[in-house]
């Protein structure tokens, strides 16, 4: 996770409370507005969102830099580099 800590976060998207697959669609659309190489931090709920969204974002071709557990795993930070 040291890689992510060193990254400058360009944008933050809080998708807690947003269900699958809308959270993925919002992440995908947000990434489309960003410059190549910039980094997005997405906040996701535990459960389905954290299990599904990271892999779907990877399958879009973006690079997952880190996944960080917050508040004892009640939500997560997904750090993505637009690729």
């Amino acid at each position: 996770m040291s890689e992510a800590n060193a990254e400058k976060i360009d944008d933050v998207l809080d998708l807690r409370g947003v269900m699958c697959p809308i959270n993925f669609v919002k992440t995908k659309l947000h990434l489309e507005t960003m410059e190549d190489g910039s980094v997005l931090e997405v906040h996701l709920d535990d459960g389905e969102p954290i299990v599904n969204v990271p892999r779907s974002v990877k399958d879009e071709g973006h690079k997952i830099l880190a996944i960080e557990s917050e508040d004892d795993g009640s939500w997560y930070k997904l750090i993505v580099r637009k690729t």
């Binding site: 954290i50 990271p54 892999r55 990877k58 997952i64 996944i67």
Partner: protein, 303 residues
């Protein structure tokens, strides 16, 4: 369509008197997919559509024949094949001939290997682990119509979600995969652990460790990993045998894991050999296994 059906005897007489040039003889009528309807002299003709996939060119030909010789209506059988409804017996010959010219054969009924069914498999389904469509075509080519004690249904499912219900067929194949961990790529995010429905993954010293006893080789962890850490190893089929529906359903028995593509044909051949040697007339293989014994079956088929 039993042998002592008086209506069928009447049909035989009518077939002989009405058409001397008729290519569809009574044996073909019994073995082929000609299913008698309630309506006098009307039959449903079941077509041979392995895996439920076909070109639209063939579909157009089927539609053309259904309009020309029947009422222009079809039904999709529960085992993925198109059935032309309301065909008069006088048109059997023309229907079969015209479809055959377009590469479309008639299916089978009765005590024999039926048209195999399959999901999309790995060709285009994101969950598919095995090439179910290719294997359905292989079975169709090599085993379709083989005479058996009773009907024999073979089904291929690309993954353990098992949409086509391979675990309810006489012989079912269900896609599996061995997950492999690349430790250098793992960030200990634990998504694979969360995803596993079988509690087969636990974190030990910052890496997911798999309990082989609990793991069902479903591949969910591989599909969930957002890094290149949990990757797809060898894929294969779980083999299930003896399932049936009907008045007295029987669930399939799981007999093997990770059967390889090249083993599929041999497994089917051995299963059919054992069934033909041991099955009583009109007894499905699941009942034969119950009567003769699973140990006997496994010894013959898996050794």
């Amino acid at each position: 369509m039993t042998e002592d059906n008086p209506e069928l005897e009447g049909l035989e007489a009518r077939l002989e008197t009405e058409s001397k040039a008729l290519h569809v003889n009574l044996n073909e009528l019994k073995s082929g997919g000609y299913i008698k309807q309630r309506q006098k002299d009307k039959f449903t003709i079941r077509l041979r559509c392995p895996g439920g996939a076909m070109s639209v060119e063939r579909m157009r030909k089927i539609a053309e024949v259904a309009e020309k010789y029947a009422e222009g209506r079809v039904h999709l059988s529960v085992r993925q094949s198109i059935e032309i409804l309301d065909v008069d017996i006088a048109h059997f010959d023309a229907v079969a001939e015209e479809l055959r010219e377009a590469g479309q054969d008639i299916a089978s009924c009765g005590p024999r290997v039926r048209v195999p069914t399959a999901c999309g498999g790995c060709e285009y389904n994101p969950n598919g682990l095995m090439d179910t469509q290719a294997h359905a075509l292989m079975v169709d080519e090599k085993f379709f119509g083989t005479e058996c004690p009773h009907k024999f249904k073979i089904t291929f499912a690309g993954c353990q979600i098992d949409c086509p219900r391979a675990r309810g067929a006489d012989l079912g194949f269900v896609g599996q995969v061995e997950p492999e961990l690349v430790p250098a790529e793992c960030t200990a995010c634990e998504i694979c652990v969360k995803r596993c429905e079988d509690d087969a993954l636990v974190m030990v010293d910052g890496l997911p460790v798999r309990d082989i006893e609990k793991c069902t080789l479903c591949g969910d962890c591989v599909k969930a990993c957002p890094f290149d850490a949990m990757i797809q190893g060898q894929a294969g089929y779980a083999i299930w045998v003896g399932g049936k529906g009907g008045k007295k359903m029987r669930l399939s028995d799981h007999i093997l894991d990770m059967a390889q593509e090249e083993d599929v044909e041999g497994l089917i051949q051995k299963t059919l050999d054992w069934y033909i040697a041991n099955g009583d007339k009109r007894e499905r293989i699941g009942r034969t296994i119950d009567r003769v014994g699973m140990d006997d079956f496994k010894e013959e088929v898996l050794s």
